[in-house]
C-alpha cells in the first residue's frame, strides 16, 4: 500500500511518537494513508492503539529490521 505521507520518527519517544503521528494524520484527508517508522518499542503498541481509539484504521504493524517498525494507518 503506497502511503500518502511517510514520517520517520525514529529517535522519538513517548509522547512525541503519538503527538507527531497525530499531527501528521491531521494533515491528511479521510481515506489517505500515513506510514510511520518508529524505533521506540512501546510506540509499536501505543501508537496503533491510540489511532484505533480515535477511529482510524491500522492496517499494518510490522518489524522491518532489528530496531525499526512500520505502522500504516488509514485516516477515517
Amino acid at each position: 500500500m503506497q502511503p500518502d505521507r511517510l514520517i520517520d520518527i525514529r529517535g522519538e519517544v513517548c509522547p512525541y511518537t503519538y503527538v507527531k503521528s497525530k499531527l501528521a494524520l491531521e494533515e491528511l484527508e479521510p481515506g489517505q494513508v500515513l506510514e510511520l517508522i518508529v524505533d521506540h518499542k512501546p510506540a509499536v503498541e501505543n501508537v496503533p492503539r491510540s489511532m484505533e481509539n480515535e477511529g482510524h484504521e491500522v492496517v499494518e504493524v510490522s518489524q522491518i529490521n532489528k530496531t525499526d517498525y512500520k505502522i500504516v494507518v488509514i485516516k477515517r
Binding site: 519517544v13 513517548c14 509522547p15 503519538y18 521506540h40 518499542k41 512501546p42 510506540a43 503498541e45 501505543n46 492503539r49 491510540s50 481509539n53
Partner: protein
C-alpha cells in the same frame, strides 16, 4: 463517579498506601477507579514488591491499572515482571483518563 489517580513514587513512599486506601474506599462506595503508574510508580506493580499484592487486590475489586510503558522500559521493568491485569500504556491513555475522570488525583514526590 469515576476517579482517576496518578502515582509516580516508588513502593516505600506513603503515597502508595494513600492511593490504595483511597481506591479501596472509592470502589466500596460503588465508584469507578482508574490508576496510572508512571516513573518510579511502576515499581509498585512488580511481582514480589511488598505492596504489589494490595494492588493486585485492587484489580480483583474492579480497579483498572495501567502504567507508562516508556518509564517502565527505562527502568528495565517488563510485562512479565508485573502483576497480571496491568496494562502497558502511554501518555495518550493518561490524557484520556484525565479527560474522562470526574476527579483526578496525583500523588508524586
Amino acid at each position: 463517579m469515576k476517579f482517576g489517580m496518578l502515582l509516580t513514587t516508588s513502593p516505600e513512599s506513603q503515597n502508595s498506601e494513600t492511593v490504595i486506601n483511597l481506591a479501596e474506599a472509592a470502589l466500596e462506595a460503588g465508584h469507578k477507579v482508574e490508576l496510572f503508574l508512571m516513573d518510579d510508580g511502576v515499581y509498585n506493580v512488580v511481582t514480589g514488591a511488598g505492596i504489589s499484592a494490595r494492588f493486585a487486590e485492587l484489580i480483583t475489586k474492579g480497579a483498572s491499572l495501567a502504567l507508562c510503558a516508556h518509564t517502565a522500559e527505562e527502568r528495565g521493568v517488563e510485562k512479565e515482571d508485573c502483576l497480571e491485569g496491568v496494562g502497558f500504556a502511554g501518555q495518550y491513555e493518561l490524557a484520556c483518563m484525565v479527560n474522562e475522570a470526574d476527579r483526578f488525583l496525583t500523588f508524586g514526590g
